[in-house]
């Protein structure tokens, strides 16, 4: 493992942007851990610390009309997709101002406006959804991409194989992003998979696949751009294995008995934020005052988000059973379909 970033730096503004995006995720989640320890937020909490380059690099290459499907370790994906830190934290506080009105929590973040489809607590459960979203796009003739994030643990599930097969068979516009952090909860990859090369598995389904250094945000971005271009231009599904590592435990309940501290320390030397920061400093792209300003911006964003969540209100208990089914005439029913589909429906009625 090289402690250095091999990829050439882009222009300073873009480098700074990527650095800031990763730092936003890092600081949000450090705050989550703090709030969890203080019992301000509850439930299961799975943080992404160490893996920020994956979400930052991939989501950077997506367009606004694309869709994102993620897992239960999805705070970073939601944030970088455009859900505000306040709405994310308020959700974890169980507040009405949360992105799911407090009904989802840490593992179930959703946002219609940014086409963020979760937030799924079932490992591999999101993969068939991504295939279906892509199927809808293909059938409607839309050139949109669905990016589907999942861990390497999902690769052992049948839904992984069913989904890759369907996506390849029907040449659907899905970008499969396997976040290989080497541990499915506490089970090391070699203990759960006969074949530990994820890209090879995808290749078995005739899907173009690459393995990428998931600690190098520039490498992730470059590979993702290539893959997204391939998907968007009608090349069917593409697959990225993003080799990364989570610096913290699986969840707040995990005593981490399954791995050596030295292994964690070794990976932390390749902290994706520090790698980019060091490369930028070496290249003269990050004057000290800019770094200080960037950190101050992120800190202010998180401070504001905590204040927003703390000040949030609670949904009335009378609304407990709201959203079990769509209420006739509700806002939801009327916006059940996207603009495109409403338009189509109108055409259908007119015809």
């Amino acid at each position: 493992m090289s402690p250095l970033l091999d990829t050439a730096l882009p222009d300073p503004a873009h480098s700074r942007h990527l650095l800031q995006q990763m730092l936003r995720v890092r600081r949000l989640e450090e705050k989550c851990v703090e709030l969890y320890s203080a019992a301000r937020i509850r439930g299961f909490l799975h943080v992404y610390i160490g893996e920020e380059a994956v979400a930052a690099g991939v989501i950077e290459t997506l367009a606004a009309e694309d869709a994102v499907v993620a897992t239960y370790r999805e705070h970073g994906h939601a944030l970088l997709r455009g859900v505000s830190a306040g709405a994310i934290l308020a959700e974890m506080y169980g507040r009405a101002e949360g992105c799911c009105r407090g009904r989802g929590g840490s593992m179930h973040l959703f946002d219609a406006t940014t086409r963020f489809y979760g937030g799924n607590a079932i490992v591999a459960g999101g993969l068939p959804l991504a295939v279906g979203l892509a199927l809808a796009d293909k059938m409607a003739g839309r050139r949109r991409v669905t990016a589907c994030f999942f861990g390497e643990g999902a690769v052992a599930e049948g839904e992984f194989h069913e989904s890759l097969n369907l996506a390849a068979l029907w040449q659907l516009p899905v970008l499969f992003c396997c976040e290989n952090n080497l541990y499915a909860m506490g089970t090391a990859l070699a203990r759960s998979e006969s074949q530990t090369d994820m890209a090879l598995k995808a290749a078995a389904y005739e899907i173009p696949a690459w393995s990428v250094d998931g600690m190098d945000v520039l490498a992730v971005e470059e590979a993702s751009r290539r893959a997204v271009d391939g998907v968007r231009s009608g090349g069917g599904p593409h697959f990225l294995e993003l080799r990364t590592y989570r610096f913290r435990a699986h969840s707040m309940f995990d005593p981490e008995l399954y791995r050596e501290k030295s292994e964690v320390a070794q990976w932390m030397e390749r902290d994706p934020i520090r790698l980019l920061q060091a490369a930028m400093e070496t290249a003269g792209q990050l004057p000290e005052e800019q770094w200080a300003a960037l950190q101050a911006d992120v800190d202010a964003e998180i401070t504001d988000a905590v204040a927003f969540a703390e000040a949030g209100t609670l949904e009335p208990v009378e609304d407990l059973t709201r959203f079990v089914t769509s209420q006739p005439g509700s806002e939801l029913t009327s916006r059940a379909a996207s603009d495109h589909n409403r338009a189509r429906s109108a055409e259908g009625r007119a015809g």
Binding site: F110, N120, A121, L166, F323, L332, T333, A336, G348
Partner: protein, 326 residues
């Protein structure tokens, strides 16, 4: 016009695909094979392979893809060949289809219809003879339909497609060949009410789906004995139409619930409990239940028949209820 149940379902599918180009049919062998039960025969030729879409044998994958396509604005009708195969897709049905609307705080509804065959009576052995619709009726967020008549086989699909939420339609395998008269202008039907198919004053026989015929037969036999039975076809197992059930029990004061599912933890248990909760003082006799014997359904014809609710068992239960008048 004359129609079979199978033709009525097919007409409903054809009608739905003609009405709305977002509707498509997806499942194992629905295209070139014409459907495992020949329901979709001919639809591929009319609508093409994009809209009559053969899938691999991967229930979780294609049911999940149906949910995703519904989220993406399509109106998929997913066919699962038989209810036993739906267990491979339970994760997608229960964890995603039923929960996404609530988990997302009302942002993501799933306008998906899943059709599947259910029930026994065709000597298919245990795994192909389950009646698990009552399980699905346990899940908030799903609507569970059990068309027992030609009119419902023809009419429930379109109404289901107009529902913004996931709807599961259970078609009893023994019904496909049933033939009868279907109104020429048969079309969409409402999905909120149970139907009183035969009014009566002495006892209420409550059933749905594949056992309706046996219950109507039982009602005829009972009439011959001077017992005037009211027959309710539930039509919808979730949400249950309490009003029709309780209203009828309020008039007849006796109830027999007939359910091809196993007794323990079944939809019949739920109905009996609701009658007990809300109509206890209307009752002149304990609620009777006629369910399948609690065995995996056997293959041998005589054993299979012995395991399933029959008109004779319904008649006996109704006699007990009426005899309890004292």
């Amino acid at each position: 016009m004359k129609s079979t149940y199978r033709e009525a379902v097919r007409a409903a599918l054809r009608d739905a695909m003609r009405r709305d180009e977002r509707v498509f049919l997806m499942g194992e062998d629905v295209g070139r094979y014409g459907g495992g039960f020949a329901v979709s025969l001919g639809l591929l030729e009319e609508f093409g392979p994009e809209r009559v879409r053969d899938t691999p044998l991967s229930e979780s994958g294609f049911v999940g893809a149906g949910i995703g396509a519904a989220l993406g604005g399509m109106r998929p009708v997913v066919e699962i060949m038989t209810v036993n195969f739906s267990l491979l897709a339970l994760d997608q049905i229960v964890n995603n289809a039923a929960t996404l609307l609530h988990m997302s705080g009302g942002q993501f509804n799933v306008p998906l219809v899943i059709r599947m065959t259910t029930g026994a009576g065709r000597q298919l052995g245990a795994q192909h003879s389950h009646s698990l619709e009552g399980w699905y009726a346990h899940i908030p967020g799903l609507r569970i339909l059990t068309p027992a008549t030609l009119a419902d086989a023809r009419g429930m699909l379109w109404t289901a497609l107009e529902d913004p939420d996931p709807v599961l339609i259970f078609e009893h395998g023994s019904l496909y060949n049933v033939a009868g008269e279907l109104e020429d202008d048969a079309g969409p039907v409402e999905l909120d009410k149970a139907a009183v198919l035969r009014p009566g004053t002495d006892v209420t026989l409550i059933t749905y789906g594949g056992t309706l015929a046996a219950v109507l037969d039982a009602a005829d036999q009972l009439a011959g004995e001077g017992i005037d039975a009211e027959v309710i076809d539930l039509r919808v197992l979730r949400p249950l139409d309490d009003g029709t059930i309780l209203g009828s029990v309020g008039r007849t004061h006796r109830a027999v619930v007939v359910d091809e599912g196993w007794r323990s933890g079944s939809i019949s248990a739920e109905i009996a409990a609701r009658i007990g909760e809300h109509a206890f003082f209307d009752l002149d006799a304990p609620v009777e239940r006629v369910c399948s014997e609690e065995v995996p359904v056997p293959y041998a014809k005589h054993m299979e028949l012995a395991a399933l609710p029959s008109a004779e068992r319904v008649v006996a239960a109704a006699r007990r209820a009426v005899g309890a008048r004292g």
